[in-house]
């Protein structure tokens, strides 16, 4: 497939935004059970939510560049019964709204206690909003992943690994950003976030490598024989019927060499996983320089863009069988 930058930005940016929110809410949950020190609502949670929202808005803006008719985008919320894309279109703004409310409640310290656990832990409004947003964050990852994982003949994508990768890679970049944010806003949380960021990044590495191995072993189900229904072992296309290119030759081919694809694969394995883990490890050791952590995030984000580019480029659409020769 031809990787579209609008979609690369959309999926990576909202992945970061969701991951950052998950990190914030994880910290709040730990603090609720007194496993981490309490943080200032205003400086930490509210500002963190704003940061997450900025990434989500960036992703939303990028998504509009993908549409031919963005002014009709509202229509895309109507087919949620059948279309994962439609579901994403509903869940993304819902999630953004909940993150906004979450930040707002923290900003104004509007935290009425709604319930008390038997152990005496008070569940306030932010916890309730946060829980809903937490569920929506995961729902959004699943929707984004399923958009690709539900297309049965794009076999590189048709796998539960696709959804798992979206969750883990988005989560990893979000926790890395949370580490940077903590270095500025709450230094005592740097080790906590860096630890989780490393764990999630390594899990992401495992599942991404698993999908690379799976895809390397795929045998195409469609062949020229099934494409035109002629059972002869030797068929070659002489002409695709036109010379100047068409939507089919532009949308479904990445147009790069196999060597380029291979180098992108190694680049993203290094920059999305290995380098960030090493840089984040400085945060674990306690001698964290904010610049190093920031570098970890930037490198990982660029690495994930390369990863997403590769994700699209690697998928080989069966329609390509029909567009092999100009003559």
């Amino acid at each position: 497939m031809h990787p579209a930058f609008s979609v690369i930005f959309l999926t990576t940016l909202i992945g970061v935004g969701q991951g950052l929110f998950l990190a914030l809410f994880t910290a709040q949950t730990y603090a609720l059970f007194d496993l981490l020190p309490q943080q200032d609502s205003h400086a930490f949670y509210a500002h963190g939510s704003i940061l997450a929202l900025l990434f989500l808005i960036g992703g939303l803006i990028a998504s509009f560049f993908h549409l031919g008719r963005p002014e009709r985008a509202w229509r895309s919320a109507t087919q949620w019964r059948t279309s994962w894309l439609s579901r994403e279109v509903i869940v993304l703004p819902a999630f953004m709204g909940m993150v906004f409310l979450y930040g707002l409640a923290h900003f104004f310290e509007c935290k009425p206690v709604l319930a008390t656990l038997p152990s005496g832990i008070a569940i306030d409004l932010t916890v309730v909003i946060g829980t809903i947003a937490w569920l929506l964050a995961f729902a959004l990852y699943v929707c984004t992943g399923m958009i690709y994982a539900c297309l049965r003949f794009l076999r590189e994508w048709y796998s539960s690994l696709t959804v798992i990768n979206y969750i883990l890679l988005g989560g990893a970049s979000g926790f890395t950003l949370a580490t940077v944010f903590a270095a500025v806003a709450a230094p005592e949380l740097v080790r906590f976030f860096a630890g989780w960021a490393i764990i999630i990044t390594l899990l992401g590495l495992v599942s991404r490598v698993a999908s690379l191995i799976r895809n390397a072993r795929l045998k195409p189900k469609s062949t020229l024989q099934t494409a035109i229904g002629i059972k002869h072992p030797k068929i070659v296309q002489k002409t695709q019927g036109f010379m100047g290119g068409s939507f089919n030759t532009r949308e479904f081919f990445h147009g790069r060499s196999a060597a380029f694809l291979r180098s992108i694969k190694w680049i993203f394995l290094l920059t999305a996983f290995v380098v960030p883990v090493l840089l984040l490890a400085t945060g674990l050791s306690g001698v964290a320089a904010t610049e190093l952590l920031l570098l970890a995030f930037v490198v990982q984000y660029l690495g994930l863009m390369a990863e997403r580019w590769f994700f699209f480029a690697q998928a080989n659409h069966p329609q390509n069988l029909y567009y092999q020769a100009i003559g």
Binding site: A77, T78, Q79, W84, I230, G241, G244, S246, Q319, Y322
Partner: protein
């Protein structure tokens, strides 16, 4: 339930592209707006088409056959392109099984084109919506046209009658007969989309003569071949002389 479809006979298609041009001519002039071209007279002309004719070479030299292969939306009975559409712009008509795009609802997200295993949808770069073969739905029911004209433009244009059109759910229709009797098949059956359009395979063209076509079965004396043949120059008359 009706399922209108094309049956394309690869045995007679000569690859003349008459269906391609007639399709473009009819559909670019319709109420749905033009099928816009970019750079039509420039170096890399490109544009929206609903129908393409491709050419394949089957076999190894010198035993090769050239197969011309017309390609357009197959109006799948279980179309994978429809449920993925987030706006409902893509739909399959209940009454005749035609798969259509509502150009006024489409947001041009191109997701449906990813979901068609055959690559039958083409995005219109000028109108920014997804397009594909409509089976000339704007001809089929037009009361101002004659019965003969109420058929897809490509079917009418084909000089070799390689394109048959009809209801494949009606077992007595010409297309159903053709599918049954000439071995009609579907493209890429492995994806289970169950395309409504069928293709008829290449056939060996042989002269088939039955014995009773050579010796008259209705000879009242049932003695054909028993009596000596008259000489070439002798007169002969059916049922009067023996030959």
């Amino acid at each position: 339930m009706t399922q209108l479809a094309l049956v394309i006979d690869l045995n007679v298609c000569v690859g003349c592209h008459a269906c391609v041009t007639s399709c473009k001519e009819w559909n670019t002039s319709g109420a749905a707006g033009p099928m816009v071209d970019q750079n039509p007279y420039g170096k890399d002309p490109t544009g929206t088409f609903f129908n393409r004719v491709q050419t394949f070479e089957v076999g190894e030299f010198p035993n090769t056959e050239t197969v011309h292969f017309p390609k357009s939306c197959l109006h799948c009975e279980d179309p994978p392109c429809v449920p993925v559409c987030p706006t409902g712009a893509s739909y399959k008509r209940k009454e005749d099984g035609i798969v259509l795009v509502d150009y006024d609802k489409c947001i041009g997200c191109k997701y449906c084109s990813w979901a068609c295993p055959y690559g039958m949808r083409e995005f219109d770069e000028a109108q920014k919506v997804m397009k594909k073969c409509t089976l000339c739905v704007d001809r089929l029911y037009d009361p101002q046209m004659t019965e003969e004209e109420r058929r897809p433009a490509c079917v009418r244009a084909c000089p070799t009658s390689a394109r048959l059109y009809g209801d494949i759910h009606d077992p007595e229709s010409a297309v159903s007969h053709a599918i049954r009797e000439a071995g009609g098949y579907q493209l890429m059956p492995e994806w289970g989309a169950s395309p409504a359009n069928h293709y008829l395979p290449r056939r060996k063209t042989t002269l088939r003569l039955r014995h009773d076509e050579i010796e008259r079965a209705d000879n009242p004396l049932k003695v054909d071949g028993l009596l000596p043949k008259p000489g070439k120059s002798e007169p002969s008359l059916d049922d009067v002389t023996t030959w």
